[in-house]
């Protein structure tokens, strides 16, 4: 594949590039496996794959510190892997088994990890945006300098509650980074057919929230923009908007016939803009790694992903008594 013309001049270290390559490839192979398990009927319901968008979450996670929070919508598998959640626990939740992160009661769209400060996995488009601002509110209330990454899509960017949240987030200078993952399609509706002004990063202007557009197929560009946003939030200046232009290769969910875009459009993105190929190219041309090195990474990831699939198949279904647990809490939750 041709090197990307606009690829950020890489002053990233070999280790950094290798880490991005590893993390993005893990998400891709995991998602491919999830798609396969779905096809076999082992995963049910809705299953939204992150394939194509890996650079967004990997680039931003590279800017996060311990205690920072993250929350997203239902296309959430990539976010969970990127923040360090266990692939076994994620895959076992996808198959609805007792070793899943939600003990089989959440599924693909509803997973959480208090330990990793991952606050879901939310199924209602736009609803996680005020929740993310609320998480940021809790940090500001406590007077620490943690930030919350609040991810949502170009579709959610048209929801009313997003703007209610922008208003309050700026009014109260909440340390929240609104990450709009613009993959250009809200389910099957192209952005130009749903959105009167396509520059989503400007959507905070009326509220005084700075924003910028970022090439989401370039993990280094994402990281660079993320650093700026994080610094802004951590210094107490309030929210920041990142519109990250990305692309999903697969359908909206597994049952998407993809009649709203051409196969050529998808193939062109894969051939010319793929975020993993980009880093692979940087590693090879920069002589940071050999083909054999990368083959070894591929192999290691294949092993992790296959193990997660086996784990998820072997884990038993939840005990029937689990039907009645976790409806109400008996004791107060621990502070995150």
């Amino acid at each position: 594949m041709a090197a990307q013309k606009k690829a950020s001049k890489s002053n990233a270290s070999a280790d950094e590039l290798k880490a991005y390559y590893h993390d993005m490839l893990l998400i891709r192979r995991f998602e491919e496996k999830a798609g396969q398990l779905y096809g076999m009927g082992l995963i049910g319901g809705f299953c939204h794959l992150y394939i194509g968008q890996e650079a967004v979450v990997v680039g931003l996670e590279a800017t996060a510190e311990e205690g920072d929070k993250r929350i997203t919508t239902y296309r959430d598998h990539g976010h969970m892997l990127a923040c360090g959640m266990d692939p076994n626990g994620v895959m076992a939740e996808l198959t609805g088994r007792r070793d899943g992160y939600s003990r089989g009661k959440g599924g693909s769209m509803h997973m959480f990890s208090k330990e990793k400060h991952f606050y879901g996995g939310h199924g209602i488009v736009g609803a996680n945006v005020p929740l993310g601002a609320g998480l940021a509110f809790s940090d500001k209330y406590r007077g620490n300098d943690r930030v919350t990454f609040t991810y949502f899509g170009d579709g959610a960017a048209n929801q009313g509650q997003v703007y209610e949240t922008f208003n309050m987030a700026k009014l109260w200078d909440l340390p929240v980074i609104f990450v709009i993952e613009n993959n250009q399609y809200a389910m099957g509706t192209a952005q130009k057919r749903s959105t009167s002004s396509p520059e989503l990063y400007k959507r905070g202007e009326a509220f005084g929230i700075p924003g910028e557009a970022v090439d989401g197929m370039d993990v280094l560009a994402v990281k660079e923009a993320g650093e700026k946003a994080v610094a802004h939030c951590r210094s107490g200046k309030g929210p920041y908007i990142l519109e990250i232009k990305t692309y999903r290769y697969r359908g909206h969910s597994m049952s998407d016939p993809a009649k709203y875009r051409t196969r050529d459009e998808v193939q062109k993105m894969r051939d010319e803009k793929d975020c993993i190929e980009h880093v692979r190219d940087l590693l090879l041309t920069g002589k940071h790694a050999t083909e054999d090195d990368l083959k070894a990474v591929d192999k290691e990831i294949k092993k992790i992903v296959n193990a997660s699939a086996e784990f998820a198949k072997d884990s038993p279904e939840p005990d029937p008594a689990e039907l009645w647990t976790d409806v109400y809490a008996e004791t107060a939750p621990q502070n995150a």
Partner: protein
């Protein structure tokens, strides 16, 4: 070993499909992401992509085959170094989705579900709310609610209140009076008029470990926010397998006020009582308002706290205690009697109490039960009373269909059918939007007279 390519499930409901077209032939090399075939499901024609790389060794199902069951092997993929000869001639059985199913025994439940009618008479907790001899003072519900919040905010620095006009205006109904002066603007927060947004921010803050009190100027406006109350606050503990609690109180006036018309006069008791994961409170007296609100603020779950504007100014005896709380799920018996059970909550209690007073003059004595909390409901107190009186009338301002009264009638039928000497009657709001005209508004609400008529009907007196 050659890999079998299986007929995929391409929608949540697909069991079989038509393999309309192969886009590869035997001997083709494929990479992950290449389209292998077109498959027609019950909903659409979909492209089916390769997951693994390799060479198509054999196509097992011809293009155009209908009714191909999910998980049937449709082709065989060869990895590097394998040849078509490696394909075993006896095809494997359809890969079954072997799910290690646990025994499907009926789960045990403590929930209020069908219990056989011969169940033993319950023995509800009838301990007094405060110790005998405790000093009491006359206090309005407004003062009691205010005191409850102030006490809890003093006790726990994580408790804060947000809502429209709660701070500088001192509360649209003065429930938050002086809280700003005592606790400052970090903990008493005026919001813009944006219920959906600030309810969500409150829920997020609760996920973050704080204990928000979200005031809705009235519950009518919480319709804008109901998705956050149900989908985010009530369900997340369950969806997270117990990891992510949401200790939050949503509170404000509920039900009809006076002459404010259809959009501002609605009782949400039955709406929220329907939702697992929520706790729902609707106090009638000032002492309950105080004790229940303190319990609500301490509860680790989301609590819907339904007040009533018409009761805000009404004074009741409130115990003078350092820390007065009332537990959820324990009804209060305001009057004891033998002839009929009247069950109500919130402002419905005013009709129930007036009716009981009048009935006593006619020699009919009533048990008057104030449910106080609608989730959980103290079924035992109701059932024990009905087993004694054999008659029951329920009173509420909400609409008839799927009302709290309907639900109680069903539970009484299940648990005390043989004890009933008359059908249970529900006194309810009328099945119309609230009209503005004074006379029509009176007709739309239930009334003391309706309760009296119902009691006479069930007692045949």
């Amino acid at each position: 070993m050659p890999t079998e390519i299986l007929m995929p499930a391409l929608s949540p409901t697909m069991e079989e499909g038509t393999l309309s077209k192969w886009l590869v032939k035997e001997g083709d090399t494929v990479a992950s992401g290449d389209i292998l075939a077109e498959i027609e499901t019950d909903k659409a024609t979909m492209e089916f992509e390769a997951v693994d790389e390799g060479t198509i060794g054999k196509i097992l199902i011809e293009a155009g085959t209908e009714g191909v069951k999910v998980n049937t092997a449709i082709a065989v993929l060869l990895e590097e170094g394998e040849s078509a000869d490696d394909i075993s001639s006896t095809p494997k059985q359809d890969a079954k989705t072997e799910s290690k199913s646990s025994e499907t025994s009926e789960p045990k439940s403590d929930s209020p579900k069908a219990v056989p009618a011969q169940a033993a008479a319950p023995k509800p907790d009838r301990s007094p709310d405060w110790p005998e001899g405790t000093e009491t003072k006359k206090q309005t519900m407004r003062e009691a609610l205010n005191e409850a919040m102030a006490e809890e905010m003093r006790r726990d620095g994580d408790v804060f209140i947000m809502g429209e006009e709660v701070a500088e205006y001192q509360g649209a109904y003065k429930i938050t009076q002086n809280l700003l002066q005592e606790f400052g603007d970090k903990r008493v927060i005026d919001t813009p008029i944006t219920e959906h947004g600030f309810a969500g921010i409150g829920v997020g803050a609760a996920f973050g470990g704080l204990r928000p009190i979200v005031e809705f100027m009235t519950w009518n406006f919480a319709m804008q926010a109901i998705d956050q109350i149900l989908n985010s606050a009530a369900k997340t503990l369950y969806m997270s397998g117990g990891q992510m609690g949401c200790p939050i109180v949503f509170r404000g006036p509920n039900g009809a006020a006076a002459r404010v018309g259809a959009q501002h006069s609605q009782d949400y008791a039955a709406w929220y009582a329907h939702i697992p994961g929520l706790k729902v409170v609707q106090p009638y007296s000032a002492s309950d308002a105080k004790g229940l609100l303190k319990t609500a603020i301490r509860d680790p779950n989301p609590v819907v706290f339904l007040e009533n504007e018409m009761l805000y100014g009404k004074a009741f005896d409130v115990p003078v205690m350092d820390d007065y709380t009332v537990p959820f799920g324990k009804a209060r018996i305001w009057r004891e009697g033998d002839d009929v059970t009247i069950v109500s909550f919130g402002i419905g209690m005013t009709y129930a109490m007036e009716a009981a007073e009048k009935l006593a003059e006619d020699g009919i004595s009533a048990d008057v039960i104030d449910l106080r909390t609608l989730r959980p409901i103290d079924y035992d107190t109701v059932i024990a009373s009905v087993m004694k009186t054999n008659r029951c009338v329920t009173v509420e301002e909400g609409w008839p269909v799927a009302s709290i009264g309907n639900h109680l009638s069903a539970v009484i039928m299940e648990r005390a059918f043989d004890y009933l000497d008359a059908p249970v009657i529900n006194c309810l709001g009328k099945d119309v939007p609230m009209p503005y005209a004074a006379n029509l508004e009176r007709l739309a609400l239930t009334s003391t007279k309706e309760v009296l008529d119902a009691v006479h009907k069930v007692t045949y007196r």
